[in-house]
């Protein structure tokens, strides 16, 4: 299979349908596509928020996601991966992150998408700041995100 891997970090929104079509259009070897979209909630720990501001480490963020995409390609039979992570100011209801995986069969696509999201949350250098009614504060990392990433290394 010809691998089709695209990773983008951008301030602008993305079109989920278009990104899926980019992995399936013009080929007949894809039997399953899984897409995950992370969306900005309107509240954080019960408090309403005005927006999130996403900061990242340019260079390292791309390198980390690429490394994990390569791991996914070697671990599952995938025909394509697309990862898009937005940065900058994002308001409730807007998209934050997209992971799309394409494969011949559903298990590979489901598992690779979950693997990529778990690793991205725990290891990709992005940080969320909440712009709330009472000021600005950085979101704290959650232990269960680290645990979610670790379970993929048990084998």
């Amino acid at each position: 299979m010809t691998a089709n891997v695209t990773i983008r970090i951008q301030p602008s929104d993305f079109d989920v349908g278009r990104e899926i079509a980019a992995l399936t259009g013009g080929r007949s070897d894809v039997g399953a596509v899984v897409s995950f979209t992370g969306i900005c909630r309107g509240s954080e720990d019960g408090t309403a928020i005005a927006a999130l501001t996403l900061e990242h480490y340019p260079g390292m963020a791309e390198a980390e996601i690429t490394r994990h995409a390569e791991t996914a390609m070697s671990r599952w039979e995938l025909s394509g991966i697309r990862v898009i992570h937005r940065v900058g100011r994002i308001t409730p209801g807007e998209n934050i992150v997209l992971v799309v995986t394409a494969s011949k069969h559903r298990h590979a696509a489901f598992e690779a998408a979950e693997f990529l999201m778990d690793y991205l949350k725990a290891n990709a250098p992005f940080w969320k700041r909440v712009d709330g009614a009472d000021g600005k504060d950085w979101i704290e990392a959650r232990d269960h995100d680290d645990a979610a990433a670790r379970r993929w290394t048990k084998s």
Partner: protein, 83 residues
Amino acid sequence: MKLKYFAWVRERIGKAEETVEPPPSVQTIEQLIGWLAARGETYAHAFETPRVIRAAIDHAHVKPDTAIAGAREIAFFPPMTGG
């Protein structure tokens, strides 16, 4: 070597990057954190809880006992919260 800071580490120190020349006795990431923390109030505040600070050398995650020799760029930041 070039240092980069992100998120609240950057805000507490008050700058996004700088170039420093630590003494030869500073050989590991955790020693570099200790040396930086002694540079002033803003640094002491940023590095007051070293165990929560994450580090990367030349765009790759590293542990506190990693040697810094040969590093071009070292970054310090809080645990990541993307996705």
